[in-house]
Subunit: 284 residues, 2 copies
């Protein structure tokens, strides 16, 4: 496993790899890796000759009041996990390497980035789209792997690739959960004491929705109200949003008579957690 | 020479070309081609195995009150010129092919796009940066050729390539002029009667600046005032801007004791004309 810090160096390595006809898979991450990330790495290793994992806590996708400085980091442990899971290359640049003097370019999507997390995180998705565009241009991957926990991010990236005619196959991978249902997240480390139990409110909500749908409840307003009550019955919780949206456009869905995604963002103590589930209504 | 209208088709053709190890040059145009464009095509033909010319009057780079509908078009004449100059491929898509349903992505630069033409054309450069990004991803060129008449556009594209880590060599080519000095432009067709003579005010300004610099005038405010007087002494002229700027950042330059670019935008009748010249002060 090789580690690159400089764009020029990894570009030269990628050029060699591609010109020898080998395929490249990219797993973009912010580090502090867990089994969710590893499921992406293993899928990439299975389907590509070379797997590149980028580790970059991208400052431009954090708002001024968000947790950039506090965001957990552990490069040594990340390397050990990646070595064990047969990643080939780590790209680990400094912010100054990614955003040099005079940097002034932004990739921005409208609409799809202005709902859900986009409401309270107005600069987030432009930061994501811009850094992912850069990573795609640096690593030139055949395939790129993203988790479905960041459901909106996955849809934003798919839309961007389509709109800008990029040549990357995006692979969205299932959410990986603890045995009790909590979706894996680097931010779970923020959960203290009984907040860990309260955090189960998110995945528990989807069970509740399943039951409501089985009972024939179709009005998503009612569904969302019942989910809100359920979540708030757990201590330390504060709701950012509870939404039922179209799986691709993320436009709000009023009636559960069509496929939809329920997306949640909930503060549990200091941790802002997100989770989601795709409901194929006729197969519940 | 082959003509492609569909993104999928030209992408497949480019894939074949690149996988056989041949290099690709791209000349992005809005059609109504003249000798300025042909100088780019010939340079591309000289240095690449395959030359692709895109002809696309990009709606997103026109403001609501600008000349999108009136913009001159002549596809047959363009084809004849390109055939004669040995272009290999024309990419000639419909707007609906470039901007499909749900399109919502934009590449945007700050600062460098907010001066000169950016002041009166606030959406222009996002339109340019976005369509050029798309063309780069569709055509995957080794080199892309742009004229220097659109000096700001050339700097915006260079900056975007650097910021987004794109793998394209941009080649900026000199302005091509009529014998009397008028910079070639598709928009020169708008000039009626004695407006054609007044249009010489732009290139004539640079002779005036040369003389002022030779006389030792360094204050760019004085220089710009004299240029304004000179231009307005021609009938049918209205000044959009007269600026002296840093050649790369386009930041305004106060004193001509360093290299600078003089950039002009002047209405002559209905035609909005631009022109510029790079002054290497110590070599005037």
């Amino acid at each position: 496993m090789r580690i690159f810090n400089k764009i020029t160096d990894i570009k030269a390595e990628i050029k060699k790899i591609k010109s020898s006809g080998r395929s490249v898979g990219l797993v973009p991450t912010m580090g502090f890796l867990h089994e969710g990330h590893m499921s992406l790495v293993r899928e990439s290793v299975k389907n590509n000759d070379v797997t590149v994992v980028s580790i970059f806590v991208n400052p431009t996708q954090f708002g001024p009041t968000e947790d950039l400085a506090a965001y957990p980091r552990d490069f040594e442990s990340d390397c050990a996990l990646l070595e064990k899971n047969n990643a080939d290359i780590i790209f680990y640049p400094e912010p100054s390497e990614m955003y040099g003097e005079g940097f002034c370019t932004k990739v921005e999507l409208s609409g799809i980035t202005e709902v859900l997390c986009g409401i309270t995180r107005p600069v987030h998705f432009a930061g994501v789209a811009t850094v992912v565009t850069k990573l795609f241009n640096i690593v030139n991957p055949d395939r790129a792997y993203f988790g479905s926990k960041d459901y909106q991010q996955l849809q934003v990236i798919k839309r961007m690739i389509k709109d800008l005619n990029m040549d990357v196959d995006v692979v969205g991978m299932p959410i990986i959960r603890e045995n009790d249902g909590l979706a894996l997240s680097s931010r779970n480390v923020y959960l203290k004491g009984d907040e860990r139990t309260s955090a189960l409110a998110l995945s528990g909500s989807f069970k509740l929705v399943e039951n409501l749908l089985r009972e024939g409840v179709e009005d998503t307003k009612t569904i969302k109200e019942k989910v809100a009550d359920f979540i708030l019955s757990h201590p330390h919780t504060r709701i950012d949003y509870i939404e039922t949206v179209h799986p691709e456009t993320l436009v709000s869905v009023d009636s559960a008579d069509t496929d939809f995604v329920m997306a949640l963002a909930v503060y549990v103590g200091k941790a802002r957690l997100i989770d989601n589930r795709y409901f194929e209504v006729h197969h519940v």
